[in-house]
Every structure is written in C-alpha cells, then in structure tokens.
C-alpha cells in the first residue's frame, strides 16, 4: 500500500479517534450514554462548510481551518447546551433515547434545509440530501480562491488535533473535574453527598464532548470537502460508541488505539475474497470487505459479553507498559 493510498485512510482514522476521544468524556468518564454524537459531528461539519462558503478569507490560506474549527466548536457547544439543559435531568436509558432523537432531528433537518450559495456558488442552493459538495461544482468554485483544497486539513493538521485533544482531555481526566466526572459515573447519589454539583458537571461534560465532536466535524469537512446528511446517521454514532467500548470506557489512549484498529480492519481485510469459495452458499460468496458492517455488529455483541472492560479498561496504558515506565523512572532518579 503506497503512501498516497494510506494518507486519506490515516486522516479518517484521526477523525474517528477525535470523535471517540470526545465521546469518551460523556460516555466513558461521566457514564452517560449518548447516542446522538453524530449530530454534533454534523453541526461542526456544516458550520465549517458554511464558513468556507460565506466567510473564507483568501489571504489566510490554510489558516482558514482555525476560525472554521473554532466556530464549529462554538456552534456544537451551543447546541449541546440547548439540548443538554433539559435532557440531562433524564436518567440512563431515557437520556440515550433523547440524544438519539436529537441526532436524528439534526440529520433530518439537514436533509430538508438548503442554504443560499453565497459567493462560491452564486445563484445555487446548497444543502439538502446532497449536502455541501465542493467537488461537484468545480467550475463555480469561488474564483478568488481557486485552490480551496483538501490539503487544508491534511494528515498533519488532523493528527496534531488528535494529540492536542488527547493531552487536554488527559489533563482534565487527572484533575478534580475529571475525578468529579468519574465519581458521577460510579454513583450519582454518593457524588452529590460529596458536594459535587451533579447537573453542572454533567452539562460541562456534555459541552466538552460536543465541542470536540464539532472540531472533528470541521476537520472532516476540510479533509473531504464533501459532506452530506448520510455521513451523520445513527450508524456513525454507533460506530464511535463501538470504538469507545472497544478501547475501554474511560480510557483515552484506548479510544485512540481502538479507532486505529477498527478503521484499519476493512483495509487489512480487503484482499481476502470469499467470492470464489465453492463450498459457501451463493449469498455468502462476496469479498470480505462487504462483511465489515456484519463484523462490526458481531464485534459489538461479542465484546460486551466477553470483554466488557475493553482493551485498556480505564487505564491509559497496559500494566506491563506502566511497570516499564516506573522502572525507567526509578533508574533515572536514584
């Protein structure tokens, strides 16, 4: 596999890792099941798309990604407040369903609205089921800015974002705020008894999670230059949830590792082909890559049953690696 082939895949891995990191704040650390993560991802992506259409500053070059990403985070955070303040009163399953409803509302609304084309697509309406596609109208790209390209959020930008978000969240996890989140997950009533303002911390976790999902959305738009509502279905929320469960609820490093594993799985399997295998029933004779959805579903069920802790449980590193670190440290400071 050549580098040019690998690059877009690694970009997608990075975006999946960002989504998983952000979902981990609310699902893993705080223990609230969120099934509408794709909604915040969509809000981020569309905000970045609309910024690119209406407000790109030509002189800024790829730095345009920064204001777009900030706006995307802001919008996602605003929406998370609007949905979080009423919904976070709900317990367990009900919250999951309410957020699922939110995710579906976002997707359905995005399928049905359209926006004026602005300077980039004069006279056109954009949005609706086709979404925002810079690639479909090559002639109508904003003339003053002919090189609006996918290189704006390339591999480097995305993985720098992953590392930044990881470091920020790791510091939060190890601070008193993170401990409050985890205390809420373990026992809400005990948390309240310890003086933790539960609603405030829940909304804080929700907001943090949504803002980083918005960031992932902005980078996703800049990497693809093509977003449509079908990118943000419930399937996406479930995929991210699967990554978080596989990595271990509450383990940030686990989320990143699981995102890499899960996103590379289809590519690792792409040369395996069952279409010539005679003893299989006709319906099953397909290249293995078509099995990937099926594999995801089976993986989710089997994981919950056999490995409910995920690959890293709540830790940031496997025990042997931690022990090794401790030994090195011990040797460095006698």
């Amino acid at each position: 596999m050549s580098w040019t082939e690998l690059q877009p895949i690694l970009c997608q891995v990075g975006i999946l890792a960002l989504l998983a990191l952000s979902l981990n704040v609310i699902c893993g650390m705080t223990g609230l099941l969120q099934l509408g993560h794709a909604g915040f991802f969509a809000i981020g992506a569309y905000t970045a798309g609309l910024y690119a259409i209406y407000a790109t500053v030509p002189g800024l070059g790829w730095f345009n990604v920064l204001p777009a990403a900030l706006l995307a985070m802001l919008m996602a955070a605003l929406f998370s407040l609007a949905i979080g303040i009423p919904c976070l009163r709900l317990a367990g399953d009900y919250l999951a369903i309410a957020t699922l409803g939110f995710g579906e509302i976002v997707r359905l609304v995005l399928t049905n609205v359209d926006f004026p084309g602005g300077r980039m697509f004069p006279g056109e309406r954009i949005g609706g089921p086709t979404g925002i596609a810079f690639t479909e109208f090559p002639g109508s790209l904003w003339p003053a800015h002919p090189h609006y390209s996918a290189e704006y959020a390339g591999l480097g930008v995305i993985w720098v974002a992953v590392i930044l978000v990881y470091v920020v969240l790791l510091n939060i996890k190890r601070s008193s705020v993170g401990r409050a989140f985890m205390c809420i997950r373990e026992d809400e009533i005990a948390a309240r008894a310890m003086g933790i303002d539960v609603p405030r911390y829940k909304i804080g976790a929700f907001l943090l999670s949504a803002a980083f999902a918005g960031l992932a959305g902005a980078l996703f738009f800049h990497q693809q230059l093509l977003v449509s509502p079908s990118n943000f279905s419930l399937l996406k929320s479930i995929e991210v949830l699967l990554v978080v469960v596989l990595g271990g609820m509450g383990s940030l490093a686990g989320s990143v590792c699981a995102a890499v594993l899960l996103a590379l799985l289809p590519y690792a399997l792409r040369h395996v082909d069952l279409s010539g295998v005679g003893w299989l029933p006709h319906a099953l004779q397909k290249p293995l890559s078509e099995y990937s959805m099926l594999l995801y579903a089976v993986l989710l069920i089997v994981l919950i049953r056999l490995m409910p802790q995920g690959i890293l449980a709540m830790k940031e590193a496997p025990p042997w690696l931690e022990a090794w670190f401790m030994r090195i440290r011990g040797r460095a400071q006698p």
């Binding site: 009423p86 409803g101 479930i238 949830l241 959805m293 579903a297 989710l300 069920i301």
Partner: protein, 313 residues
C-alpha cells in the same frame, strides 16, 4: 379563503383516518417495547428488526403458496407465518444475546440490543442484497392487487388494507388483555414487572416469563411488519424508522404501560396525519416524532398513562 378552509376541512377525515390506521401499527409494535421494558427494563432496539423479519417471512410464504389461492385465504396465512417468524427471532435473540448479559447492567444490555439490531439489518442486507421486494400487482385478484385497492374517504383514496391494521390491532389488544389480566401467565408477568425478586420468591419462573414476553412482542411486531409490507415494500432497513417511532409511541403513552402503548401509538399516528394535513412538509414528518419524544421526556417523562416511580437508593 372560505373555499380554502372548506377544502382543508374536507381533507381532514382522510388524514385522520390514515393517521389512525398507521397509528394502529405503531401501537402493535409499541406494545412489544413496553412489555419488554416493563419486565426487564431494557429498551429492545432490535424490536424494529423483528418487524422486518416478519415482513420477510410473510413474503417467503407468499412465494411458496400456489398463485391460484384466493388472497382471502393467503393473507391470513401470511400474517400468521410472519407473526410466528417474529416470535421465533425474538425468542432466539432473547436466548442467545440478552439472557447471558442480564446481570451485567443496563448499559451492557442496551449496547447488546443495538448490536443485535445492526446484526439483523446487515444480515438481511447481505443475504437479500438490499433489494426491496414488492407484491406484484399485475394480476387482478392477486394478493398485491387486492392490497392496492382503495376506498374514497373525504377527498382522497385510502387503501382498504389499512383498515385491516385497525382490525388486527383491536384483535391483538383483546387477546393481550385476556392474557395479561385473566391467565396465570399474565399474573406472573405482572408480578415480575412489579418486583422480580419477590416474584422469584413466590415461585414464578422468571426466565419463562421473560421468554414468553419476547415471544408475544415478537409475534405482534412480525405481524405488523407484514401488514405494512402488503401495500409497501419489504427491505432490510424497513424496521428502523417504524421501530424508533413505535418506541416514541411507547414513551408517549408511558413506557411499561400496555394501554399507554396503544393510546400512544394511535396518538402518534394521528399527530403525524394532522401534521401533514396542517401543511408540515413531508420531509419534516419524521422530525415531528422525535420532537414529541424530547418534549414528552422533558415535560412528562412518565408519559400519558404511566406512573412515576421514585428512584430508590
């Protein structure tokens, strides 16, 4: 203006009746959600897929039956088969996926339910190639043609088969009422739903109660799936939206309450009908259900007919 109004009013019965008919389907599916939730506190995400499996089973039986058979004999056979298939897949799901993790907490159960739902959807997409199946309407007097016949209500035609939704829903409601309120099994079911631990001490076989609850819910969902497929299409993703909306209906009526699920289903169907009548663009019709969901959860989480239970420490 007056004419517009009278025109709109003459449209109203059509939208109300067709909303009521669709609502009956929501009610049939919602009862399954509410029964399962009442007993093991699990939102069975895979319930919409039982509906889809039922529709496929009905189509399979249709293909096996001789073409000369009168639709009046064929349709009940298909409905029975779809119900049986729905019950079978519900039973298998409960045994294979839910039973082993019953003690692992509600999050694990919910995630497993989502996994099962995706597994069933993708298995059928995989095997059936996602090709929508439709009952052929070419021959007069065939199942497909009979199910496309319409009757005029108000200003528009409504397919006759939609009235069967109401009939079947009514029949199932009566049977269900009898089972829950008048049989020993029903008493066991109510006992488990009130307090599972106490029910075990009273000698109730909880495993059996849970299994039979899944069978009943699966039967109703399977039948509902085939009823819809009769005048629409059968495809792997068909259970997703109706499943979600029926869940909304169950929440609207008060989850855990059987009369609530029926009222909620009918109400949701009528609300959707009214929304279309009132000029809400059809693309936003599905949004209405989710807006209702969030409003109900926020304003009255116990639903229309449910009772609020305090969380105990």
């Amino acid at each position: 203006m007056d004419q517009d109004l009278s025109e709109a009013m003459s449209d109203l019965p059509f939208y109300l009746v067709s909303g009521l008919c669709v609502g009956a389907i929501y009610a049939l599916v919602a009862v399954g959600y509410t029964l399962v939730y009442g007993i093991i506190k699990l939102i069975n995400f895979a319930h919409g897929e039982f509906y889809m499996v039922g529709a496929y089973a009905g189509f399979g039986v249709y293909c096996l039956l001789p073409a000369s058979l009168s639709p009046w004999a064929a349709i009940p056979l298909m409905l029975l088969a779809s119900g049986a298939a729905g019950a079978a897949i519900a039973g298998v799901t409960e045994r294979v996926a839910y039973k082993p993790i019953r003690r692992s907490g509600r999050l694990a159960a919910l995630l497993t339910a989502i996994g099962v739902s995706f597994l069933l959807q993708n298995t059928f997409t995989f095997v059936a190639n996602a090709q929508p199946l439709q009952y052929p309407t070419g021959v007069a007097g065939s199942v497909g043609e009979v199910c496309q016949r319409t009757v005029r209500i108000g200003s528009d035609g409504i397919t006759v088969v939609k009235f069967a939704y109401l009939g079947v829903a009514l029949l199932f409601c009566v049977v269900l009422w009898f089972i829950v309120m008048r049989t020993a099994f029903g008493r066991a079911m109510r006992a488990v739903s009130q307090d599972a631990d106490a029910a075990v001490l009273m000698g109730v076989n909880v495993d059996k109660v849970i299994r039979n609850t899944f069978l009943i819910g699966g039967f109703m969902a399977g039948t509902a799936g085939n009823l819809i497929a009769l005048q629409s299409v059968t495809e792997p993703m068909m259970g997703f939206m109706p499943g979600l909306k029926s869940f909304v209906a169950a929440v609207l009526g008060g989850i855990g309450s059987v009369p609530g699920a029926i009222v909620g289903g009918l109400a949701l169907g009528m609300i959707e009908g009214l929304a279309v009548w009132a000029g809400v663009p059809t693309g936003y019709k599905d949004v209405a259900a989710f807006v209702i969901l969030i409003l109900v959860l926020v304003i009255r989480p116990q639903g229309l007919l449910g009772r609020l239970r305090n969380e105990k420490v």
